[in-house]
Amino acid sequence: MPTEVIMPKVDMDMAKGKIMSWHIAEGDRVSKGDPLFDIETDKAAMEVEAPADGILHHTAPEGMDIPIGTPCAWLYAEGEEVGEQPAPFAGQAGAAPKPEPVEADVPNDTKSVEAELELVDAIAGEATGKVRATPRARSLASGAGLNIVDLIGTGPRGRVQELDVENEIALRDTRPAPLAAPVTFKAETGALAVTRSKGGTGTPIMMIHGFASDATSWAPMEAHLKHRPLIRIDLPGHGKSPKLRIDSFAELVREVRRAFDDLNLDAAHLVGHSLGGAVSIALADTRAKRLSSLTLIAPAGLGPDINGDALSGMCRATRAESLGPWLRSLVANEDIVTDSYVRLAMAGREDTNLRAAQSCLADSLFPDGVQAFDLRAALERIDTPTRIIWGKQDAIIPWKHALRAPGKMALHLFDGVGHMPQIECSAELGRILSSSL
């Protein structure tokens, strides 16, 4: 049986990937892990590795769109007879219709009891956020200054055991000391990057992303807002914006306000997420007449608590292995943050100057892991129709900060959603934003 080479899902809102080029020619041998082909998604190009050893056959033509999770080539074992292509490429003319996704509650006889247990564990773990670890592993890890969450368990059902902690300690001792977050960076000048969608009518929706994110993070929600003109601002030191030196929240707001003023809008619906939410509150406080509505998604500025470990962890991460756990802490269902997605996100953070700029920004705004600015008074003053949206499993900023907002504001709380409602329940947010705009 040849091994299928599957089009991977490297991006949260990716439905299919285009094969840009094959690194290996038809009929050539590859080893597991070798670069096999490049794909392009809406956001980035990416290299895909061979899933197994073998000889490559039946490759999908370059330029072809392949739905994720379906084969784009097959790998044959040495000496294995190469016959007809085992199946046509999905979406290809003459292809058998792809079966509808099977609902989860349909019994699957082939599933082993163990797999069931792992599923149960995964669901239980997801619900509780707890790690399966022995008491001994926990006490050893805590004595060694390791976070049990970061350890990979090799025991039954992924349980972290003594051996796993010992291995991690041994590994840490041989690994070079992690680079301290750079505290200085090469400051740049210039205007913030503003991008606009094509099409749409009516009052534009302007969006400000959160810390360590960028304008592309709105893509899943934008898919549900196509009828409106959309404007996205990249914060300083984020996305395509210059890495400005920002030493205070007021400076940050000043830069965003300048970008907003340059747009010369008569009216806009303002949407801000997390740090972008705090900036939006400040903007609404001074530009009330030009804002038709304000939507705050898990906004900063309403209380002191914030997950400082996650912020500094993301700034510090120099590789996918260290970035992944923090990215997963952003969402309630970790499954949506795939390894491929993490690699893609890391690729976008490879610029050390960008990480340094964000580290400095975090240090100014969230010293010692505390929100140093309080926007509750500003929020009280705002008469613009305002709604607050929060996920109840938010592990970055506690959703209960929402209860500090004045009663005149609407509140939408989502169960089973973390810090990224615009990604985790993008359709719901699209509906909320569309319904009353």
């Binding site: 022995t134 008491p135 001994r136 592993a137 926990r138 006490s139 090799t154 025991g155 039954p156 055991q161 003594e162 051996l163």
Partner: protein, 336 residues
């Protein structure tokens, strides 16, 4: 000839060791008397009392009627009034008939009389399976009495401890229950000469090891040691603890071992549910040794059924060496 080393190597059976203990005690203290069904001329159902009636007479080696409640009651009364009776239940299963005297009288009297009177009675319970005696003559009911404050409960696994614990029991001012395993009666082992006691409430580390701890009672100690030898050849170094006393339990010895190995198997012949292993497990889970556990605790105990008559089934319902090996391999290799 070195007389001393000859003495050291002296071997007796478990039954002989108990008889020797009773003989020594009766010779040095005339308050010690024996009571029980068929312990006189017949020498006891398992021959443990043997010919002691010939040596001490029927005043001190008394056959009691077939009434466990009556016999046990007389023993409790005799203890209260100054004697040191050793009462033998013919089978530990029949002690169910004497429970009123054990639980409501012997265990309570010291407390209810404000400490003015104690009950220094010793009761012996031949117990356990393996003799083909089926459901009513094969049980391991030690957890019944171990649940009662006021009683001390021991389970010797060797001839040496059978003698030492019986003599210690006679020194104790309170009621002591001795559960003897019927299969062990014929087992031979070194028994020191003369008078000595084995401390009640003190477990014995009978094999030192570093990979896992086996806490066993009675006959299971021997099965655990057998299994430990096989494991050693496979590179698993098991520590085996003979609990010896189940009330009061030797917490320090068990916890120290679990802190060292991080893995625990409890093995006992009695029905697994609510047995001695449940108490050992809970004791560890409630202690600081919990932080040293690197795997779940395993209990191996009797099946949830009466002991069957069929010899194959009789073996199948209690832990055997292969069961211990399988559990230990899984535990040591991180598969549980």
């Amino acid at each position: 000839m070195n007389m001393h080393s000859k003495t050291d190597l002296r071997e007796l059976s478990y039954a002989e060791a108990i008889r020797e203990a009773m003989d020594i005690a009766m010779a040095r203290d005339e308050r010690v008397i024996l009571m029980g069904e068929d312990i006189g001329v017949y020498g006891g159902a398992f021959g443990v009392t043997g010919d002691l009636v010939e040596k001490y007479g029927t005043d001190r080696v008394m056959d009691t009627p077939i009434s466990e409640l009556g016999g046990a009651g007389v023993a409790v009364g005799a203890a209260m009034t100054g004697l040191r009776p050793i009462f033998e239940f013919q089978f530990s299963d029949f002690a169910t008939l004497g429970m009123e005297q054990i639980v409501n009288q012997a265990a309570k009297i010291r407390y209810m009389l404000g400490g003015a009177v104690s009950v220094p009675v010793v009761m012996r319970f031949p117990s356990g399976s393996g003799t083909g005696a089926a459901a009513q003559h094969s049980q391991s009911l030690e957890a019944w009495t171990a649940h009662v404050p006021g009683l001390k409960v021991v389970q010797p696994s060797t001839p040496e401890d059978a003698k030492g614990l019986l003599l210690a029991a006679l020194e104790d001012p309170d009621p002591v229950m001795i559960y003897e395993h019927k299969i062990l009666y014929k087992m031979k082992g070194h028994v020191p000469d003369g008078y000595y006691t084995t401390p009640i409430g003190k477990a014995a580390v009978v094999r030192e090891g570093k990979d896992l701890t086996i806490v066993a009672t009675s006959i299971m100690v021997h099965k655990a040691l057998d299994a430990a030898e096989t494991m050693a050849a496979e590179g698993i170094d098991a520590e085996v603890i003979d609990l010896r006393t189940i009330r009061p339990m030797d917490r320090d010895t068990v916890l120290a071992s679990v802190r060292k190995t991080g893995r625990l198997i409890c093995i006992y012949e009695a029905v697994k549910t609510l047995g001695v292993g449940a108490e050992v497990s809970a004791m560890v889970a409630e202690s600081d040794a919990f932080d040293y556990l690197d795997a779940p605790i395993i209990r191996l105990g009797g099946a949830e059924c009466p002991i069957p008559y069929n010899p194959e089934l009789e073996k199948a319902v209690v832990p055997q060496v292969p069961d211990i090996l399988e559990a230990a391999r899984n535990l040591a290799k991180g598969r549980v």
